[in-house]
Assembly symmetry: C2
Homo-oligomer: 282 residues x 2
């Protein structure tokens, strides 16, 4: 595995691969890798000839009161995991290379990002689309893989790529869960034992809604009521949102017809967790 | 010359050229081509193996009260001119292909665009950087050529490319003038005979400032006074701005040291004209 830390070097590598006719796959990450990330790497390898994983904790996508300063990291562990998944290039640009003095450009997707995490984290998606644009220009991927846990991010990137005529294939990777149902997240490292126990209510509440949906319930309010009753029973949890939306536009949905995304953001102490379930006719 | 009107087809062509190891040059235009545009095509051909000219009148960069509806066009004439300059591909996407329903993405450069044309035409540069991003993704140029007449646009594109790690070489082409000094512009077609005569004051005023600069004048106010006295002597002209700025950051400059850009925007009847001169020690 080669490590590259400058955009120009990354582009030079990509341009050689293109000339050789090889398909490049990219998995953007902020590091502290878990099995969820590695499942995305495997998806990228299935869809491309060579695989790049990027590792960059992007300051632009963190709000002023968020966890940028304490975001967990494990450079050696990450490297070993990527190496064992046969990643070809680890692209780990420095903050100086990414946002040099005078930096002033933004890429924004303005509708899909309005609600849910976009409402709760102003500027977040703007930071995501900007950094992903930079990664795409440096790595020149034919295919890029994003986790479905951040479903709104996935929908936003899809919209950006379509709108900007990018021609990059965007693949979503299914949520990977711990044995007890908790969706894997680097932020789970923040949780105390009690908090981690309480956090199980997220996946449990989604399971309840899914069961009701399978039993024929299509009313949005009724499904959300199932979710809320599970979540509010946990005194350690504070619900930021629990909503049913169209999985492409993220417009709210009051009746689940063809399918809808049930998405949650919940605070457990100082930790903000998200999870979701796609409710769709089989 | 091949004509392509869909982004996906354009990308497919570009990807073949890349695989063949050929350098792609791009000249973005809004059509109604004149010798200024053709000089940019020649520059692109000098800097690349194959040359794409794009033709798209971009609604996103026109304000509500501007001249989108009457912007001059001559599809047949444009095609003949590009053909005679041995352009390989005319990329002329339809408005439907560029901004389909649901379109919602913007690329913005936020500092270089604040003053001058950015102040007079709110949203203009945002429209420019967005459409140029789309053209860059479709055409995948190694080098793109922009005219120095739109110097703020050139500086904005340079900033965008650097900020977004694009690795495209941006080449500026010198202003091409009519025999009497008027900078070539598709919008010159709007001018009546009297207006065209009055419009000569733009280049004349820049000439006066340049002479003063060559004689040793370095004071910004003194140089701008030269310019204003020529412009205000023409009753048909209304000055939008006349400013001295840093040619990279577009910050105002009060003393011309290493060099500065003297930039003008002037209204002649309903027509808005711009012109500029780089004052720099030889």
């Amino acid at each position: 595995m080669v490590t590259i830390d400058q955009p120009a070097q990354m582009r030079a590598w990509a341009s050689q691969e293109k000339r050789a006719g090889r398909r490049i796959g990219l998995v953007p990450t902020m590091g502290y890798l878990h099995e969820g990330h590695l499942s995305l790497v495997r998806l990228a390898r299935q869809n491309a000839d060579v695989c790049v994983a990027s590792l960059f904790v992007n300051p632009l996508q963190f709000g002023a009161n968020e966890d940028l300063d304490r975001y967990p990291s494990d450079a050696e562990g990450d490297r070993a995991k990527l190496e064992s998944e046969s990643v070809d290039v680890l692209y780990a640009p420095t903050a100086e290379a990414m946002y040099a003095p005078g930096y002033q450009t933004r890429v924004s997707v303005n509708e899909v990002t309005k609600r849910l995490c976009g409402a709760g984290r102003p500027g977040h998606f703007n930071g995501v689309t900007t950094v992903v644009s930079k990664l795409f220009h440096a790595v020149c991927p034919d295919v890029a893989v994003f986790g479905e846990k951040d479903y709104q991010q996935l929908a936003t990137i899809r919209r950006m790529v379509r709108d900007l005529d990018w021609g990059i294939e965007i693949v979503g990777g299914p949520i990977v869960r711990e044995a007890d149902g908790l969706a894997m997240s680097s932020r789970n490292a923040y949780l105390s034992e009690d908090e981690r126990e309480a956090a199980l209510a997220l996946s449990r509440s989604l399971g309840e809604a899914r069961r009701a949906y399978r039993s024929g319930e299509r009313g949005g309010e009724a499904l959300l009521e199932k979710v809320r009753s599970v979540l509010t029973a946990e005194p350690l949890l504070e619900v930021e949102y629990a909503e049913l939306v169209d999985p492409e536009t993220f417009d709210p949905v009051s009746e689940v017809g063809e399918g809808a995304l049930l998405a949650l953001a919940v605070h457990v102490g100082k930790t903000r967790l998200i999870d979701n379930a796609l409710l769709a006719a089989a």
